[in-house]
């Protein structure tokens, strides 16, 4: 690694961390969460970057170098369909297999009770032993290869566990290589480390499905609460297991079904928030910030988020009002995002620049702002618009 590149890396790290601590760096950090966009830019199909992690990593490095971003995620195409295939997971439509090679992967969420990955009468089993339930009940249900205890074993069952484990170890090790290469080749910071989801979102996304869970909120609310409480220590453990040992970059929290219109404010207060808040407080006590990637519109819950300790989170705006978020949260927390994805897809570079100016003027004057699109960039944004967002921020976002 050259001295000049390491110097650039340290400048970027300082810029990014300063903003995340809600202070004023030299200029606004640029930290796009670019998923399938990197494929579009680098000339790959969605299939290529979703199935072959080496191509995904190469595409990210190309974007980081060419766009000169301050921080990126090493691979934001968060599902590796090669891994999915090895394990036999059956809840994805994979680009180039069940979907066209140019379509991002699609998650098949359980729509109704018969298809739920966790059945309505299995709450007690989950609560009593979450890990055991996942291994013995959930995995056999969501994998075509894994067999439940008591069922006849198979070669494919054994291979699923073996290949999945080996593949994951390989992926984790390659992520480390990717972060090192980003640092050495373009002085780019790895934006996040560690992954967290709210216990409620785990129930909604991966166990019951949103619609069956909605019924549970009325038919067995005490079980939903108890399940969230049983899942919480595991969510925290896993988040901390992947966290940055230097405590520079945040743990990422992907927030899905806690906002309007999915659940009511009262349901948020009763089921979504208590265990999540507990986890965030404990993570902060251990010195790690959390990036609240609030997908959708979370404006009705800003008062709850404002309860959290100063600087404990970075609040990312998707469909919410970034100016309102700044008004309610900006004194305590760094804000990121707020540039609408549809603007980068359907707008012009001039419109993108104008919007970036509006956001920067409105929320970034005192520091504590990170430039990013509202939602993860899939293959929709126009390259010229992403360039406009980047170049404008680099020029206009100087303090």
């Amino acid at each position: 690694m050259s001295e000049a590149m390491e110097k650039l890396y340290q400048e970027r790290l300082k810029r990014y961390v300063t903003a995340m601590r809600n202070e004023k760096p030299d200029r606004i950090p640029i930290r796009p969460f670019a998923a399938e966009f990197v494929a579009k830019y680098a000339g790959y199909t969605c299939q290529q970057v979703t199935h072959d992690i080496e191509l995904a990593f190469a595409a990210v490095r190309k974007c980081a170098a060419d766009f000169d971003w301050d921080a990126v995620v090493g691979n934001m195409v968060y599902v590796w369909t090669g891994f999915v295939d090895a394990v036999g997971l059956n809840y994805y439509l994979k680009p180039g297999i069940e979907a066209s090679p140019d379509t991002p992967f699609q998650y098949i969420e359980p729509e109704d009770e018969p298809n739920a990955y966790m059945r309505e009468n299995e709450y007690d089993a989950l609560i009593a032993d979450p890990t055991g339930f996942l291994a013995d009940v959930w995995m056999p249900r969501v994998s075509n290869d894994v067999r439940a205890p008591g069922a006849p074993n198979s070669y494919r069952n054994n291979l699923s566990w073996l290949k999945g484990g080996m593949a994951l170890m390989h992926y984790f090790s390659q992520f480390g290589v990717q972060n090192a290469r980003l640092r050495a080749e373009s002085g780019t910071v790895g934006a996040i480390a560690g992954c967290l989801k709210a216990p409620f979102d785990i129930l909604a996304d991966k166990l019951r499905g949103y619609r069956p869970l909605c019924m549970d909120l009325f038919s067995r609310p005490e079980k939903v609460k108890a399940a969230c409480e049983a899942l919480a220590p595991h969510m925290m453990f896993n988040a901390l297991a992947g966290a940055d040992p230097e405590k520079n970059v945040p743990i990422s929290l992907w927030m899905h079904r806690g906002c309007a219109p999915f659940i009511s404010p009262k349901q948020f207060e009763t089921y979504y928030w208590p265990t999540l808040k507990q986890i965030i407080l404990e993570i902060w006590k251990r010195g790690h910030q959390t990036l609240f990637y609030a997908e959708g519109n979370w404006d009705t819950h800003l008062n709850y988020i404002a309860e959290l300790p100063e600087r404990s989170i970075i609040y990312h705006v998707d469909r919410g009002d970034i100016f309102e978020a700044h008004k309610q949260l900006g004194r305590k927390f760094c804000i990121s995002g707020g540039i609408p994805n549809e603007l980068l897809t359907f707008g012009t570079p001039d419109e993108v620049r104008a919007y970036c100016k509006k956001v920067i003027d409105g929320v970034a004057r005192d520091g504590g702002y990170i430039m990013d699109t509202a939602a993860i960039m899939q293959d929709d944004p126009q390259i010229e618009n992403v360039k406009a967002m980047t170049d404008f921020t680099r020029e206009y976002g100087v303090y």
């Binding site: 394990v87 032993d129 996942l134 994951l168 992954c195 297991a241």
Partner: protein, 56 residues
């Protein structure tokens, strides 16, 4: 052999050391090293299972 169905496993654990230890007729050397490595590898398996749920 413990009843696997009744194990309530804390975070980071797939098969507790306390149960594994019962399987040894004897531990003639350093138990701490055996325990540490068992728990380290066990935690990797735990992370795998939960990775499938959380991130895949």
């Amino acid at each position: 052999m413990p009843d696997e169905k009744t194990m309530n496993l804390p975070p980071g654990v797939c098969y507790p050391w306390e149960e594994k230890k019962k399987e040894y007729a004897a531990l003639l050397g350093d138990e701490t090293i055996v325990k540490k490595v068992w728990e380290d590898i066990d935690q990797l398996a735990y992370i795998y299972i939960w990775f499938c749920l959380i991130s895949s």
